[in-house]
Symmetry: C2
DNA sequence: AGTCCCCACGCAATCGCTTGCGCCAGCCCG
DNA sequence: CGGGCTGGCGCAAGCGATTGCGTGGGGACT
């Protein structure tokens, strides 16, 4: 490792000057500056983030604590987050929460000991890590899965109106019995979508029937003429079930779903879906976190980004 | 931040002793140890990885420099890598190479200044980062995309035999004109698959025709009765084209493809595919890297893990 | 010619930890 | 009863940067 000291002696100045040249933190005679820059060039000096962090307190790194377990669109989300972070000069420290409270706890402790400047968190249900982060005053923003709390920064998809829109679309096509295949219980996202489902039913003048909200398609078959699918994971399951039971999507069973998958147009019929603004969620989350790091006193914000409907044919339209 | 000094004074010992208790690096009277542990407990001390790294030189972190651009199975790969790294007490620093030489260069410099103990790299074509890493003596292992170099650790899928197997499967079904829709040019993976394709043709007693290797399905239509698809990305494109052209996969055009996608059974017909051992590749890569970190002099290894054939119906079988 | 300023730069403390040395006290042994 | 050993701990020197304070030298102004 080439240190600052070596650069300094090569340039014939003190490390103080080298430091100031690098950080542009005080004026240096241009002749001197040139010498220093040349020395840096020659030695291939890259600086030592570790040493710098020790004295500055900051690390220019963000912790990304998410649940990696095959969350399909997380790849895209992570890419968006990485892009925005890098653009702002921050590095990402990635850690899997495994969707369990203990792992999450361990993950957060890890990040803390690594002194990340802020944390992007996809909270597990019943997360103990969040309070801890708040107590320690670590800048945090919640991504994707939101909580009802108003005192924390968070960004995720708008769920209520969007789900309502899906339901109403089916209702407008004449469906009277509309089911909801819901996602993982206990998540705020799931609850919100159920809420949106009720709202949509109400707006369409349809009655709510709790038997029509199920975690899988099976019990809904024969009971409904249309279904709203709450997320990618259940979607795969639903399509599999439909195929196994010989139910024809589109004609026999109208289907609208959350999550835009890349194969939406490759199945028959193509899927009408609510595409979440994944990329934007990622970017926004990072921006929100950086602004929080900059001003820890800023009032917390909750940002909900609206999904967009990709209208295809599984809903029965042509 | 609660420092070691605070823990020490609370326990009534020197920081030296606290350090030794934490790292178990010399014996401490059990009564004393208890007091220290209690103090740690009470203060919620987590240690400061930054400070520790500054003196030890190591960071217990690995750099993961990959191309994030919607590489579908990278989510899975990253998850596997993260899991293995965490299990071994290492943290991941994630950075996108964006598949360009400059980004890759910047990424590697970044990782270096962050003093990661090792780097997992998916090299861009024409990567300048690799030589630099070698020159600096940074432990590195190449993942997924391999090079012909023998002097570097690398782990990825076996391509030649696997592709040959795909070709021969089609040949055994009676196809005489078999095309290859190849992936991104310039990648070793692509070359190897082309090679495997030739090998397969040869073994099946078929002639090689360079016109039958194309980056898209379009020019192959009408020319072949069966195709091998080289990766996930082109697969989507191929299926789209087939659909647009009204070509029936399975009956009119036999298709076998690389990459097992989660929707393989949801399209019609279900896809016969070569499933890459993604998880195993990830785990193996981390292990290899850790062993290299431990023993920098060990002879470099190239590990190729065999994909497994998932036989479904797009190949025309039933 | 003397005073004052300001520009360029260096000294040295500091961040929180690890670790080579060394000190002290108690015990065993001759 | 003295010397040597050993177990239990503390001192203090770094690790490689940042940064408040100080110093010297060269105009500009009175």
């Amino acid at each position: 490792m080439v240190t600052m000291r070596e650069v300094a002696s090569l340039a014939g100045v003190s490390i103080t000057t080298v430091s100031h040249v690098i950080n542009e933190t005080r004026s240096v005679a241009s002749a001197t500056r040139e010498r220093v820059l040349k020395a840096i060039e020659e030695t291939g000096y890259t600086g030592d983030a570790i040493a710098r962090s020790l004295v500055t307190g900051g690390t220019k790194s963000l912790g990304l604590a998410v649940s990696l377990v095959s969350h399909p669109y997380f790849a895209e989300l992570i890419a968006a987050i990485e892009g925005e972070a890098t653009r702002s000069g921050y590095t990402l420290v990635l850690i899997d929460t495994r969707d369990t409270a203990e792992s999450e706890q361990a993950a957060v402790r890890m990040l803390r000991s690594r002194r990340v400047d802020g944390v992007l968190l996809t909270p597990t249900s019943g997360s103990a890590a969040l309070p801890e982060l708040r107590r320690l005053g670590v800048p945090t923003v919640l991504v994707d899965r939101l909580t009802v709390a108003k005192d924390v920064d968070q960004v995720g998809p708008e769920n209520v109106q969007a789900t309502s829109t899906l339901v109403r679309h089916l209702a407008e096509l004449g469906h009277r019995r509309i089911g909801l295949v819901s996602g993982q219980p206990g998540l705020a996202t799931t609850d919100e979508r159920v809420l949106g489902y009720r709202l949509g039913l109400g707006r369409a003048g349809l009655a709510w029937d709790e038997d029509l909200v199920r975690p899988s398609l099976e019990p809904l078959l024969g009971q409904v003429s249309g279904v709203v699918v709450s997320d990618h994971q259940v979607l795969v399951d639903v399509l599999r079930t439909a195929r196994a039971r010989g139910v024809r999507i589109g004609s026999e069973l109208a289907l609208v779903t959350y999550d835009e998958v890349e194969w939406a147009e490759l199945v028959d019929p193509p899927l009408t879906s609510m595409a979440q603004p994944v990329e934007e969620i990622g970017r926004t989350a990072v921006r929100l976190l950086l602004s929080r790091i900059e001003d820890p006193e800023r009032a917390p914000e909750t940002i909900r980004l609206p999904p967009v409907l990709r209208h295809r044919r599984s809903c029965g339209c042509h």
